[in-house]
């Protein structure tokens, strides 16, 4: 332990861990965005709104069960599913007709959808802050490196992150649908010609991507106050991470989220007033040297 201390101070270590828990949320949401962008070529600005809806749904489910622990676990399962349902409706009703459109139009269209969703959330849930309680199991904190408190819930996040990453990797690489979607991302017509219903595959990918956004929202809900405007802050970060990591590349999203989360938390240590600059600068630097992103993109 002392050896580690001589290299990095406990404060920095704890900062890194916190940055990592933030990374988890960013990764989960960004991976969904990357999936949609990489396979469907849709820059889904509404992804942030779906994240917000995930958080609000988690609140509602938890609220129905009186804020109990069971309520939390149900919310963790129910909210992403709810968001998936919403996205399914949106996809079948709207997006499936637009897969061949220009990117600019798609960008503006998803922006329009995000505006609509934003106000719909206001209509359905009202304007007040909502709070989702942390389940009993995760309340309190562990003392790291002697005396630095680290919330237990964050350790839960640190476990969820790799789990989701592995699950995603399995789906994308080991399942049939994953392989088909990877093929379709590269050459849609070919997949079509082989007789596979590409539209259906695209729909599935879209729903999975949005489900991830909802999951991110549900996971983050106990740590913040659930408010309108969550979508705007997150969407820009998610986009930057996806671009930085490489479009359509799940590991790229992970790498991007890592860089973003860590530069954010460490930047704060170095220059508190302008800490926010560090992640943006990192993105700029990466894009200058590797414009298509750090890892291979599917475009």
């Amino acid at each position: 332990m002392d050896f580690i201390y001589s290299v990095i101070s406990p404060g920095v270590l704890s900062q890194i861990l916190v940055g990592l828990s933030r990374t988890v949320i960013l990764f989960i949401v960004s991976s969904g965005l990357s999936l949609i962008l990489g396979v469907l070529r849709i820059p889904n600005v509404a992804h942030g709104s779906l994240y917000m809806i995930g958080a609000y749904m988690a609140f509602s489910i938890s609220h129905v069960f009186g804020g109990s622990d069971m309520g939390f676990w149900l919310a963790l399962v129910g909210a992403p599913l709810g968001v998936a349902l919403v996205s399914l409706i949106a996809e079948r009703g709207l997006f499936q007709y637009l897969y061949e459109r220009e990117h600019l139009m798609l960008l503006l269209l998803t922006f329009a959808v995000s505006l609509v969703f934003g106000d719909l959330v206001k209509i359905v849930w009202g304007a007040e802050y909502k709070s989702v309680p942390v389940p009993q199991v995760f309340q309190g904190f562990v003392l790291l490196f002697g005396n630095l408190p680290f919330p237990r819930y964050n350790t839960f996040l640190l476990v969820m992150g790799p789990l989701v990453a592995v699950a995603l990797w399995l789906i994308v690489n080991k399942t049939k649908i994953g392989k088909i979607s990877r093929a379709a991302a590269v050459d849609r017509e070919m997949v079509d010609a082989v007789g596979i219903n590409v539209s259906w595959v695209f729909g599935m990918v879209f729903v999975i991507g949005c489900l991830l956004a909802g999951l991110g929202g549900a996971l983050v809900a106990p740590t913040v106050s659930v408010t309108l405007g969550m979508d705007h802050t997150l969407i820009i970060e998610a986009f930057l991470i996806v671009i930085m990591g490489g479009l359509g590349n799940i590991w790229g999203a992970l790498l991007g989220a890592l860089i973003f989360g860590l530069t954010q938390s460490l930047g704060i240590l170095i220059w508190p007033q302008f800490g926010i600059i560090f992640p943006y600068t990192a993105v700029v630097v990466v894009l200058i040297f590797r414009p298509t992103g750090l890892l291979k993109s599917t475009w």
Partner: protein, 321 residues
């Protein structure tokens, strides 16, 4: 015969334009103060949207964060007027020049990329600049913004500000129109349609695009400067990405490939925003639905659609004739 026809339609075109300008000049005599103020806002946003159209519609460049240049133009002017003893008229020029300079720098960094990547890098850089302005409280007033910016007495009344805005906007639009119609403009559109071909015939693609970016940035800065004259305030929100998307929407609504499209789009959006807010708080919802309708049914914007109708009509005339 063809020559005769050309000059006739040429004259016709200009007559309606002159009528339009005269009407605009006469408005202050008949309209109440509020509408004059609103017109000023429409004009300057129209200017900002048109400047975006130069690079987006005519240049095919994915300028996703245009608001940065608008905002920096405004802040440049505001800071000169509040922090230095320079003449305000000098401030009015410095603001847009700062935007142009920023446009050049950002352009050099981003131009190596294309399409979506260009847009994303620009968003990152733009967000970086926003963050700096937002946090540098001691210099820029931070999230509070700067208020009560002193402007020359001549421009303080709504009418004064309106005429100034109108004149500057007309001159700027005329300049931009000339640029688009010039050989430079044609090359730019050629680059948009087929960059590889243009390169092959010896066009320095990057240089042309860079110049277009600087021009667009400059006029966006002019629009920002006009905002300072009309409203005497600046806020960091003026360079936030949501405003960039709004300006994009203005271009889209009016028509990306027409010159006056963005101006029309801007007027509609400003009018709707003001009008709709008297009825409901859910302006975002309304805007979102309008956007979706436009994308589905009027992908070339209002003027694009009008153009189509006119073209269809003239085609049937030719067939009939």
């Amino acid at each position: 015969m063809v020559g005769n026809n050309m000059s006739k339609t040429g004259h016709k075109k200009y007559i309606s334009l002159y009528i339009g300008i005269i009407i605009l000049l006469l408005f202050p005599l008949v309209l109440p103060r509020f509408y004059i103020y609103l017109l000023s806002i429409m004009l300057l946003y129209g200017l900002a949207a048109t400047s975006l159209n130069i690079v987006l519609g005519y240049g095919g460049i994915f300028q996703f964060h245009h608001a940065v240049f608008y905002g920096i133009g405004a802040y440049g002017t505001a800071l000169v007027l509040t922090k230095t003893g320079f003449s305000p008229w000098l401030g009015f020029i410095i603001g847009p020049l700062v935007s142009a300079a920023l446009s050049l720098i950002m352009g050099i960094i981003c131009i190596r990329l294309s399409k979506l990547y260009f847009g994303m890098l620009q968003i990152s850089l733009g967000s970086l600049i926003w963050a700096i302005v937002y946090r540098w409280y001691s210099f820029t007033g931070g999230d509070d913004g700067i208020h009560g910016i002193p402007i020359p007495e001549l421009l303080q009344s709504p009418n004064g500000a309106y005429y100034f805005t109108l004149i500057i906007t007309i001159i700027s639009l005329w300049l931009m129109y000339r640029i688009i119609k010039s050989p430079f403009g044609s090359i730019l559109q050629g680059i948009r349609d087929n960059p590889v071909r243009s390169e092959m015939i010896g066009v320095n693609v990057k240089k042309h695009q860079l110049l277009a970016l600087v021009i667009a940035g400059f006029f966006a800065g002019v629009a920002g400067m006009l905002f300072v004259v009309v409203d005497n305030t600046v806020f960091p929100d003026m360079m936030f990405w949501t405003l960039s998307l709004e300006i994009l929407i203005m271009c889209l609504l009016g028509g990306l490939f027409s010159f006056f499209g963005p101006l029309l789009g801007a007027s509609v959006i400003v009018a709707l925003r003001t009008f709709v807010s008297t009825f409901t708080v859910y302006w975002a919802l309304v805007l979102g639905i309008i956007m979706m309708l436009v994308i589905f049914f009027l992908p070339n914007g209002i003027l694009g659609y009008v153009d189509e109708i006119i073209r269809r009509k003239s085609r049937t005339e030719i067939v009939k004739g």
